[in-house]
């Protein structure tokens, strides 16, 4: 008996080594099965706090990538909106391109393409944005441009990989818009002064406008899908000589901080524009 104790005493370090090894291995094998291992809940509480702090820190470095992903996801989701599809009039037989056909028998009218803004001004009288999407990536002249908060402008020039967008903050910009409340439509322009305010002209005085009313794109626009956010009424001014209000609109989009936009393609854009611009020869 004494010898056994002596033996244990002599090799105590070795035994404790073996013990710890066995303990570690048991811990490992049981943890992979049960997830309820020794001290796990308490330890995870502590490591969780540290991990949370660290990921909070690391999130800042991933913001750019996260942004890009969200913009892409949004574009994908917007492409699935019901508003993008038209219900076909079956009274007449027409030839259809099967590529744009939806399985429900509806046809896509609008396609959203995400684009990164690589150049932007707000301080000039003629402000343009440059976006990283050109002819090669499906951009076309006349496409509507929509930011994440509201409309931004219209594509006016396209290069192979980069497009030039006429911002709403351009003296010649003109977009058809309406009051969300009662669908009275007018046109959005810019007076060249404050980049956060636009002007909505040609709203009839019969419309009941009040401050804070929402202004959205009208249903008449060729390039913009209807009911996209433009801004809110900030100031109402009416001249007694005219039958129309002139409304000051606070833009929904913050033009000085645009990072990502969507180019919106209307499949029937050219058709509509052609009809609108060419007067019919046989009235």
């Amino acid at each position: 008996m004494k010898n056994i104790f002596l033996f244990i005493q002599r090799y105590f370090t070795f035994f404790s080594f073996l013990l710890l090894q066995v303990f570690a291995i048991i811990l490992l094998s049981s943890s992979s099965k049960t997830h309820q291992s020794f001290l796990a809940s308490g330890a995870n509480e502590v490591t969780g706090v540290i991990n949370h702090q660290y990921s909070g820190l690391r999130d800042y470095f991933n913001l750019k990538e996260t942004n890009r992903q969200l913009a892409e996801e949004n574009a994908r989701l917007r492409n699935q909106l019901a508003d993008n599809f038209l219900i076909v009039d079956k009274g007449k037989k027409i030839f259809v391109d099967s590529l744009i056909r939806d399985s429900l028998g509806r046809y896509r009218k609008y396609t959203y393409l995400p684009a990164k803004v690589i150049g932007n001004t707000v301080t000039l009288q003629t402000n343009f944005l440059f976006v990283e999407r050109g002819i090669n990536q499906g951009a076309k002249k006349g496409m509507a441009v929509y930011g994440t908060e509201g409309i931004v402008g219209v594509v006016v020039e396209t290069g192979p990989n980069i497009s030039k967008v006429m911002s709403l903050l351009h003296r010649n910009s003109k977009v058809s818009a309406m009051l969300k409340k009662d669908n009275n439509s007018g046109s959005i322009e810019w007076d060249g002064t404050d980049p956060s305010y636009l002007t909505l002209k040609n709203i009839t005085k019969s419309a009941r406008v009040s401050k804070g009313d929402t202004v959205v794109t009208s249903t008449y626009s060729a390039n913009f899908p209807s009911r996209l956010m433009v801004g809110t009424v900030a100031e109402i001014s009416s001249e007694s000589a005219s039958n129309f209000y002139t409304l000051k609109i606070k833009t929904a989009t913050n033009f000085s901080s645009i990072q990502y936009v969507y180019l919106i393609e209307n499949v029937r854009y050219s058709e509509q524009v052609q009809l609108e611009t060419n007067p019919s020869k046989n009235p």
Partner: protein, 176 residues
Amino acid sequence: MSTLLKNIIRFIFFILFQKFILNEVPPLHQFIIPYIYFLFILWLPFSINRLLLLFISFVFGLTLDYFTGTPGLHAAPCVLIAYIRPFLLNLLIPQETAEQSYVEPSHTSMGWAPYGVYVGILTFVHHFYLVLIEWLQFGNFFYFIGKVAATSAISLLMIFIAEILFTRKAKFRTNK
């Protein structure tokens, strides 16, 4: 700074460094995960009690394990190298000189060649055992061989760089 305080700081530093920097590095290859956290065990003082050394190593490994979510995986190799460490030190350092006059193993206290052997062997043992445990769980022989070799090489390189960058003051033992 007292030895105890210094080692507590090292403990925390190595765990956080391993978890939040080395384990986060985007892998160059499936074989390569650099490990240098066990340098903590290698740098513990000469005079430490062997039993205490084992327990400290176990706790150290287990701490990292709870961060990576694999209880026991790092604890086992840590205990192994902690067990081997005293034997290796006895072999490598000339008695009477280093162990008597310096506090902890370093290239200044042991000389480059013995210290290199000391670090090299323990690194290899650590990785061999670590990957062996992994291998027993997932199994693939070439994975095993490749990973031991690649990971050991990268880790040794990093330890070497760490030694050069952070010169530890070789502290002499004093009679206090």
